[in-house]
Amino acid sequence: MSAVFYIASTIAVVAAFLAVTRSDALHAVLWLLVALFGIAVDFLVLGAPFLAALEVIVYAGAIVVVILFVMMMVAGPAASRGQERRWLPPRAWILPSLLAAGLAALAVTWLAGAGGPAAEGTVIGARRVGMLLFSDWLVAVELASVLLLAGLVGALYLSSGSEGPARANGRRRQPWPDPDVTGPGRGGAAD
């Protein structure tokens, strides 16, 4: 079964690299999907079926889809392809390659020989994970829910209004009159 791990890992790494380097946004997202699937398989091999499922459902299913939505709203794929190519001249690759390769080389040399027993494929099921979450890690779970709430509210607020949060509230909320504006009609595009 370890062969599955290596195959899936290879697919994931290659797909990740491709995802990162494509000029076409849609292609990049799709390659990301492939990479995520590969990682999900890895999870499975390492005995985490619950999280493999969650990876597909939450990550590939929700997060990537949301990214797709916004991508469609923001940039037409055809127009963006040319722009992306312009933003990726050869010389832009030098520094990131150096830094990332250096980091990778160091980390790999460091970690490749990490010892101890191998990662077994023994399944650690959802029940055990759930037990842990709602006993020892209860506070973490509550904090995670608060985080989600914050994300929800933030996303709601930031994306509302046709011209931004300022416009969403009507006019700026000031306890004192705006000196630039005279008269009752505190409107107009003066801001």
């Binding site: 520094l95 990131p96 830094l99 990332a100 250096g102 980091l103 160091l106 980390a107 040399t109 460091w110």
Partner: protein, 661 residues
């Protein structure tokens, strides 16, 4: 009248004139001012009578001796202590005036000549709008000078010293509307300041070391505490000498006196000829005990005096301004006085002081008459004024002055006083034959320039400035000159040398003041150098030589500057003579040297420091911080990618340090 009246009268008059002089009628101002000085003179005379009675019992003056006190050394004096001025732990100083023979001589000359000059100035300055201010300053000067002379302790003396310095500044720059006068006044004040600081240090040293500033106590304290030639007494004497050099315009601080001629002529006559510049001579005479304890410094006094006399006489010979000749002459003559002090000829120095006051004031006031009537100060443009209708009297009086300065034999007081100084240089233990030679040469030069001055103004062909109609000087501009001329001729007979009769009134009068010191150091007897007949002959030879020099100088001056034979014209044009004359004319380059070595470096330093280099040093710190800020700000590109790259780089560095650390 009590002694302090001498100071109080001119002081009160000065204050009064200062507050209201501008509003008073000019005649009233003149009366107040002259009267104040006359009161001082009268008080001086009155208080000197008991002293003279003590010195000359044969005069039969029936003054009770009880009015006088005597110091332990037997010096008669009248002392009045007004109040305690300073009382701190370790030092008590009173405002106290002491009139002893030395002070009596000084106050008589100062107030007497001062009175005559005040009378003269009343007429001379009559057209000046600042009449009141002038006499206010003059009276304050007289008050300060008398304070200086009558002071019983060095602190009060220093008060008078500073006072005369301030009045000198105010009077030199009297016509302040012309900035050149202000500059001359500042120069005088600053140069004498150098000496004043030295004097102050000396006073402080004495106060700390001996615990007193009272003059008699200082002398006895120094004798008790300090060995002959010791370090402290040498230092104190050196500082006192520096103070005297500054005030008396001797080498190297002589540069201010020629420029001080920017003041009105009565000021030049009173301050810069007769009285203020002799304060240095008085200081050394007063503290002679300290100087005698420091023979090295005493020798320096004599050397300085001789050199100054010579160099200043050379400069006087080639000046073209009517008053600058007299200024350099004053420097030279005070050099004579210093030379006398340096060989412990104290009486001779003071004798010359008195005669010099007479004839130098006379010369200055005659010059004042000339400038007042003719309006010209350049000697080359004057001439023949003796034959003019306006100035024959002045010419005759100026001739008396010039003759006395030159030391024409037997009839002028200058002859007797100069001879006394020359003879003193041959007295052991301070025998200085080299100094004698220098002073003799200078005497020849003195006669030469004195008569050059006289002939170029009053004799010879009429100069371009004298051809027009001149007005006569006022009466009040002649009478004081007559009195001074009388003094110039007759004062010499107060001290006639043994070879010519032997009448020693002056030295006998002053004797008690210096007796103790002279006895202690074995002075006053020339028996060890010559036998009595040899001494007699030597003195006669000396007198003959100096007389010959005076007469020869007069004749040579006439021939050179008036007759002007062809060989003179040729000689005067040679480059050697012309360039030497030019160097002498600018005072041997003293001003140039001060400018190059003192004034300009100071100004350059001030300019350099104007931008505050110390601040620059601290500014370098802020500059470095700012530079590092500018460098670091480059990393704040505002771009997320740059920051991300930084993070990755940091992670890289951390990993590296973990792996290899």
């Amino acid at each position: 009248m009590p002694v302090w009246t001498m100071v109080a009268a001119p002081l009160a008059a000065g204050v009064l004139l200062g507050l209201s002089g501008a509003r008073l009628d000019k005649r009233l101002v003149a009366v107040v001012a002259c009267l104040a000085v006359l009161i001082s003179f009268a008080a001086a005379v009155g208080n000197s009578v008991p002293l003279m009675a003590a010195a000359f019992p044969g005069l039969g003056i029936a003054e009770p001796d009880a009015a006088l006190s005597r110091t332990a050394a037997g010096v008669p004096h009248l002392t009045e202590s007004l109040y305690t001025w300073v009382e701190v732990d370790g030092l008590t100083v009173d405002v106290a005036f002491k009139l002893d023979p030395l002070a009596a001589l000084m106050v008589l000359v100062v107030s007497g000549v001062g009175f005559l000059i005040h009378l003269y100035a009343a007429a001379y300055m009559a057209d000046d709008p600042d009449y009141g201010r002038f006499f206010c300053y003059m009276n304050l000067f007289v008050a300060a000078m008398l304070t200086l002379v009558l002071a019983d302790n060095l602190l009060l003396l220093y008060l008078g010293w500073e006072g005369v310095g301030v009045c000198s500044y105010l009077l030199i720059g009297f016509w302040y509307q012309d900035p050149a006068n202000g500059a001359a006044a500042r120069k005088a004040f600053i140069v004498t300041r150098v000496g004043d600081v030295a004097l102050l240090v000396a006073i402080l040293l004495l106060a700390v070391q001996l615990g007193t500033l009272q003059l008699d106590a200082l002398a006895s304290g120094a004798l008790a505490a300090w060995p002959n030639g010791g370090f402290e007494v040498t230092l104190v004497a050196l500082l006192l000498l520096a103070g005297a050099v500054g005030k008396s315009a001797q080498l190297p601080l002589q540069v201010w006196l020629p420029d001080a001629m920017a003041g009105p002529t009565p000021v030049s006559a009173l301050l810069h000829a007769a009285t203020m510049v002799t304060a240095g001579v008085y200081l050394i005479a007063r503290t002679h005990e300290l100087f005698l304890l420091a023979p090295a410094v005493l020798a320096m006094v004599a050397t300085l005096g001789g050199l100054t006399a010579f160099f200043a006489a050379c400069s006087a010979l080639v000046q073209n301004d009517i008053k600058r000749v007299l200024a350099y002459s004053t420097i030279s003559q005070i050099g004579y006085m210093f030379a006398a002090l340096g060989v412990a000829g104290f009486a001779a120095a003071l004798f010359h002081f008195m005669t010099h006051a007479f004839f130098k004031a006379l010369l200055f006031l005659s010059a004042g008459n000339v400038t007042h009537c003719v309006g010209e100060t350049d000697l080359r443009r004057l001439g023949g004024l003796r034959r003019s209708r306006a100035l024959p009297g002045t010419a005759a009086l100026a001739a008396v002055g010039a003759g006395s300065l030159a030391g024409l034999p037997l009839i002028t007081s200058g002859f007797y006083s100069k001879d006394a100084i020359l003879w003193a240089t041959l007295q052991p233990p301070f025998l200085r034959p080299g100094l004698l030679l220098l002073l003799l040469i200078t005497a020849g030069l003195t006669s030469l320039y004195a008569f050059r001055w006289y002939f170029m103004i009053f004799s010879g062909p009429a100069g371009p400035a004298t051809e027009r109609e001149l007005h006569r000087p006022r009466d009040l501009m002649l009478y004081p000159l007559i009195a001074l001329a009388a003094g110039s001729l007759l004062a010499g007979f107060l001290e006639v040398p043994a070879t010519l009769g032997g009448y020693h009134a002056l030295s006998e009068f002053l004797a008690p003041v210096f007796a103790a010191a002279e006895q202690r150091h074995g002075l006053g007897s020339n028996a060890t150098l010559f036998s009595v007949e040899q001494a007699h002959r030597a003195e006669l030879i000396l007198q003959a030589v100096s007389a010959a020099l005076a007469v020869l100088g007069m004749m040579l001056a006439y021939h050179w500057f008036i007759v002007r034979p062809p060989w003179q014209r040729w000689l005067a044009q040679t480059p050697v003579v012309a360039s030497v004359a030019e160097i002498m004319r600018i005072g041997w380059g003293a001003d140039a040297m001060y400018s190059t070595f003192v004034a300009q470096p100071y100004r350059a330093l001030a300019r350099r420091l104007r931008h505050e280099p110390i601040d620059d040093g601290i500014g370098a710190l802020t500059g470095a911080v700012r530079l590092s800020h500018y460098l670091l700000v480059l990393t704040q590109s505002g771009r997320v990618r740059t920051y991300a790259a930084g993070m990755v780089l940091g992670a890289l560095v951390l990993l590296l340090s973990w792996l290899w650390g």
